[in-house]
């Protein structure tokens, strides 16, 4: 990693940007190197090395999320070809547990960031709305692990969910009104009561990585 002096500077810089501690950054760096095969960047293909990820039904979406420019804060849409360690950390930082000792405003901000990440997972064409097609796509993927469920079921579930979302977000609609899709604000509304903080976090190194899944 070059001279230790500049390395620790880098680490501190990363600490500041992403909020991870130096231990965590250390560990994640090791993992990054393992994934990338000692290259400075990771491409989509590198994610094929993770065997357990293969069985994940939303695998493609997860991998995509890593390269999504919106998550990387590099642009309003599109996919990056490769990401470096800093980008890797940026993505990981979405999954840090919310520090409840922070003040309310910052907690809200963190929450919003996490929800935005989630939103981007649904909204694959980056138009700022989750349309019915995209929703259907998600549901199909979620149910793809189950061979007995037909596409129609998945479709109808997505439709039902969309209807629900519409009723939550927009309430009563005029006859001519068209519900285009779920915007980010609507999405926030749906999640209003549910505490995402307890769900969207990964325990980063309170204990050492007990087993690396090779």
């Amino acid at each position: 990693m070059g001279a230790t002096h500049s390395a620790s500077e880098e680490v501190r810089e990363l600490e500041g940007k992403t909020g991870f501690s130096s231990d965590q950054i250390e560990q994640l760096h090791r993992r990054f190197k393992h994934l990338s095969g000692d290259q400075p960047t990771i491409r989509k293909e590198n994610f094929n090395n993770i065997p357990d990820l293969e069985l994940n039904p939303i695998r493609s979406k997860i991998v995509r999320a890593f390269f999504d420019n919106r998550n990387l804060r590099k642009g309003p849409s599109g996919l990056a070809d490769e990401i470096n360690f800093e980008d890797f950390l940026t993505i990981m930082s979405y999954f840090r547990p919310i520090d409840t000792t922070m003040d309310e405003e910052r907690v809200q901000l963190c929450r919003k960031e996490k929800l935005r990440f989630l939103f981007h997972m649904y909204d694959s064409d980056s138009d700022g709305r989750i349309t019915l097609e995209e929703y259907r796509n998600v549901v199909e993927e979620l149910l793809s692990g189950n061979p007995h469920i037909e596409k129609e079921s998945a479709r109808s579930i997505a439709d039902g969910a969309m209807m629900e979302a519409a009723s939550v977000c927009v309430g009563r609609m005029e006859p001519d009104q068209v519900y285009e899709g779920i915007t980010f604000d609507d999405f926030l509304k749906i999640w209003q009561g549910i505490d995402i903080e307890t769900k969207m976090h990964v325990r980063f190194l309170n204990m050492e990585t007990i087993a690396l899944c090779h």
């Binding site: 357990d52 989630l118 189950n146 129609e152 068209v178």
Partner: protein, 797 residues
């Protein structure tokens, strides 16, 4: 007892029989004829019938001793049930104080009556009856209705807290009391260390189930709820194990010459007892799940299998001196998942209700007995002991809560706040468990048993009444983080997505976490266990279940409002007929089709409002008439068919599965919403018509993207299955609620951006039935919430 021979006789013979027996002598003699062989009775009976007794005949006689025990027990149970009814009638009361308060009061009242009339109370409770009959149902119910997934997610914290907490409390209280006893002034020096430890262990048996109902009402967050629940579940087991070990010690060593070896043996025993119990429970759970796989033709014995195997696991564990409580809990947890899928609907309902009933009866009896023994002469009041016990209970609980959670918070991602910990501390309500254990102390080993019983009673009364009543306001005052249990498809979807996302990210990070453990377990489960244990192995997805359940709810709601909104019906008459029919043929697909056809008309009406190229709008009258005609047709059909189903399968077997929905509305509301599971008979119902509303012409060509084609796929909704039987109860109550008023809910339907192209050839695409349904449900939701959105998991308590 010869009952079976007595039954066929009419009342006149009964009277003569009684008379004969009365004339036979004092009532104590009665026991002999009744206990003797049945041959004796026919003689007496015939003698009575055939000849006049020599002495004067008393026309009316009372024979109370004969029936005393069952009679009084029944009366107690009935009295408590009546009290519970009264308790729940005033709907705010359950939120104010735990039900145990009520039961204790009733028990005390009964006790006062018994004491006042100087009646000898029946020997309801002794050691074997308690441990063999009264305790298992309570524990079984607790284990069966446990929310498995959240429980296992938090299992580390729960075990840590429940296990260590019980131990700390037991030893802490025991030791402190021992120190107090050493003080000569209190006159307690004859109470040795072992006795104190034993007392400590039994008094630390917390029974927070009492407060769970209060928690439900206050809707505290799930983590907190689970902690308390887990504690309740494991606490019984742990205190009983401790109790037994210490009793064994006491028997062995009457004096305090216990060697370290014994202590180590005790600890080892503790672990073996616990783990062994769980092991046996799991084995029995699997066996019973396996057996239920084959019971489709004799569904009447399914509840029997469930109960008998659970009980058997308890007994086997007890035989080997292992923890029967943990065994029965483990059995229930293991069994539940597979049994639910295997048994028929009626069996499932039976199991559920019977379990609740049994546990309710047990608990009632225990509390009654507690009340009865309060008012009596068997007390020994010692100020010091009682006060210090009370004080130490609170102190040690506080110590254990704050110390243990301080440590476990280091490992938890979401630590429990101080508020949460205060609530946990305050919910340390003692209950039936402590009392039973105190009551069953052997007098030979514990000369001062009465003092212990008194102290226990005081602690129980104090905690149940004072803490139980004030914990509700405390929770609200502290503003503990609330939960939002909303049941929606979106939530389910998002949660599922989140799970997978987390697992994925953890994979990327190379972290090993309990999510992966859970995933691995699920995979193992799917691959092996389900194949062996489940009847027809159709993997189900919780999203689909939830969705179908909501569909059902919505469809049924639609039926309600649909019916009410048509003017052509003569409301009472039609409603009557509908109710009748539904009661007659609960599983009729006809009604479902009914609902759908209604839906169709509704939809058509709505479509009119925002589709430009319309068919000539039908007047509502015409529509209503059509509805009426269709209704009558279907009713006639279903009346003809009776119970049988269109495709002739026996009712109530494999087609419909219901899963327990832990968060269902309370029973008093009369509704029971459960998940309806339809087996996916792929493509078998091709004959089901799809009704299409293509607006401007039969050619069915597609217009601009903005318009939506509304197609009702009947197929989706009753794919080879029958509608929920459950829904009809709901219907009835809903109809009552909605009254006679018409409720025309025509919400404009949002149009979706994307429209499906291929719809004309009867191939279905998205249905709007459910879509509309979800709108309705969204509307109905507030109504339902008012009814009592909380879900008493252990509601009987």
């Amino acid at each position: 007892m010869g009952f079976q021979t007595l039954v066929p006789f009419g009342p006149w013979n009964w009277l003569l029989f009684l008379v004969a027996l009365k004339c036979g002598g004092a009532s104590s003699d009665l026991n002999e004829p009744t206990n003797s062989s049945p041959q004796h009775e026919p003689d007496v009976r015939f003698a009575a019938a055939s000849s006049e007794p020599a002495e004067t005949v008393s026309v009316f006689a009372l024979d109370y001793d004969y029936v005393q025990i069952p009679y009084e027990v029944t009366l107690w149970i009935l009295l408590a049930s009546l009290a519970k009814i009264g308790f729940h009638l005033y709907h705010r009361l359950p939120g104010l104080m735990p039900e145990s308060c009520l039961l204790i009061l009733v028990g005390a009242l009964v006790g006062a009556i018994i004491f006042g009339t100087d009646h000898k109370s029946p020997p309801v409770m002794d050691s074997s009856i308690y441990f063999l009959y009264l305790l298992p149902p309570i524990v079984l119910e607790g284990g069966y209705f446990m929310p498995t997934r959240p429980f296992f997610e938090n299992i580390g914290s729960i075990l840590w807290w429940a296990g260590l907490g019980a131990l700390i409390n037991a030893f802490g209280i025991g030791l402190s009391l021992y120190l107090v006893c050493q003080v000569q002034a209190f006159g307690l020096s004859d109470v040795n260390l072992l006795q104190n430890l034993l007392f400590g262990s039994l008094i630390s048996a917390v029974d927070p189930v009492a407060v769970l109902a209060v928690f439900e009402e206050a809707r505290v967050n799930q983590q907190l709820y689970l902690m308390i629940f887990g504690e309740a579940l494991l606490n019984d087991g742990i205190s009983v194990v401790l109790y037994n070990i210490l009793i064994a010690f006491t028997k062995m060593h009457k004096f305090e010459d216990i060697e370290p070896v014994d202590i180590l043996a005790g600890c080892a025993r503790f672990i073996i007892v616990g783990c062994g119990g769980v092991f046996f429970g799991v084995i029995f759970g699997f066996i019973s799940a396996f057996i239920t796989r084959f019971t489709q033709n004799i569904s009447a014995i399914e509840p029997l299998i469930v109960f008998m195997f659970s009980y058997l696991s308890y007994l086997v564990a007890e035989t080997l001196y292992l923890s029967g409580i943990l065994a029965i809990t483990a059995c229930a947890v293991t069994m539940k998942k597979y049994v639910e899928e295997n048994v028929s609907q009626t069996s499932y309902t039976t199991i559920k209700y019977f379990m609740k009933m049994l546990s309710s009866v047990s608990e009632t009896l225990i509390f009654m007995f507690m009340g009865v023994s309060t008012v009596g002469k068997n007390h020994e009041w010692n100020w010091a002991f009682v006060c210090f016990t009370l004080a130490f209970c609170q102190i040690w609980r506080a110590i254990s809560v704050f110390a243990l959670f301080y440590i476990s918070n280091q490992f938890r991602t979401f630590p429990f706040s101080i508020k949460d910990q205060c609530i946990i501390f305050y919910s340390g309500v003692r209950g039936a468990g402590s009392f039973s254990l105190a009551f069953l102390l052997p007098l030979s080993l514990f000369p001062r048993k009465k003092m212990f019983v008194t102290a226990t009673l005081v602690v129980i009364y104090f905690t149940v009444f004072i803490q139980g009543i004030t914990i509700g306001p405390l929770v609200r005052y502290l503003d503990v983080r609330k939960t939002n249990k909303r049941e929606s498809i979106n939530e389910e979807l998002h949660t599922r997505l989140m799970d997978h996302l987390k697992a994925g990210i953890e994979d990327v990070c190379g972290q090993w976490s309990h999510y992966q453990v859970r995933d691995k377990f699920k995979k193992f489960d799917h691959k092996y266990l389900r194949k062996i244990l489940i009847r027809e192995n159709l993997p189900k997805s919780s999203i689909v279940s939830l969705y179908k359940k909501l569909e059902m709810k919505q469809a049924i709601e639609m039926a309600e409002t649909g019916l009410l909104s048509s003017t052509a019906f003569s409301m009472p008459h039609q409603a009557q007929r509908i109710q009748e029919t539904k009661r007659l043929s609960p599983e009729d697909v006809e009604s479902m089709r009914d609902i759908l056809t209604h839906n169709m008309y509704q939809v058509r009406q709505r479509t009119l409002s925002y589709n430009k190229y319309n068919l000539k709008p039908q007047t509502s009258e015409k529509q209503a008439k059509e509805i009426l005609i269709r209704h009558q047709n279907t009713f006639r059909e279903s009346a003809r068919k009776g119970h049988s189903l269109p495709w002739g399968k026996p009712a109530g077997t494999k087609n419909v599965r219901y899963l327990s929905c832990p968060y269902s509305p309370p029973q008093p509301a009369g509704r029971d919403v459960r998940v309806a599971e339809f087996t996916d008979h792929d493509g078998s119902d091709a004959e089901v018509p799809s009704i299409m509303f293509n607006t401007h012409s039969p050619t069915g060509s597609l217009q601009e993207g903005r318009q939506t084609q509304e197609i009702i796929p009947m197929k989706n909704l009753h794919r080879g299955g029958k509608p929920a039987h459950l829904g009809y109860q709901r219907n009835r109550t809903q109809e009552e609620q909605l009254g006679g008023g018409r409720r025309v809910v025509l919400r404009p339907k949002p149009l979706f951006h994307a429209v499906d192209e291929d719809f004309e050839s009867g191939e279905e695409s998205e249905e709007e039935a459910s879509a509309i349904g979800s709108r309705w449900s969204a509307e109905h939701r507030p109504g339902r919430d008012l009814q009592g959105s909380h879900s008493p998991l252990l509601q009987s308590k």
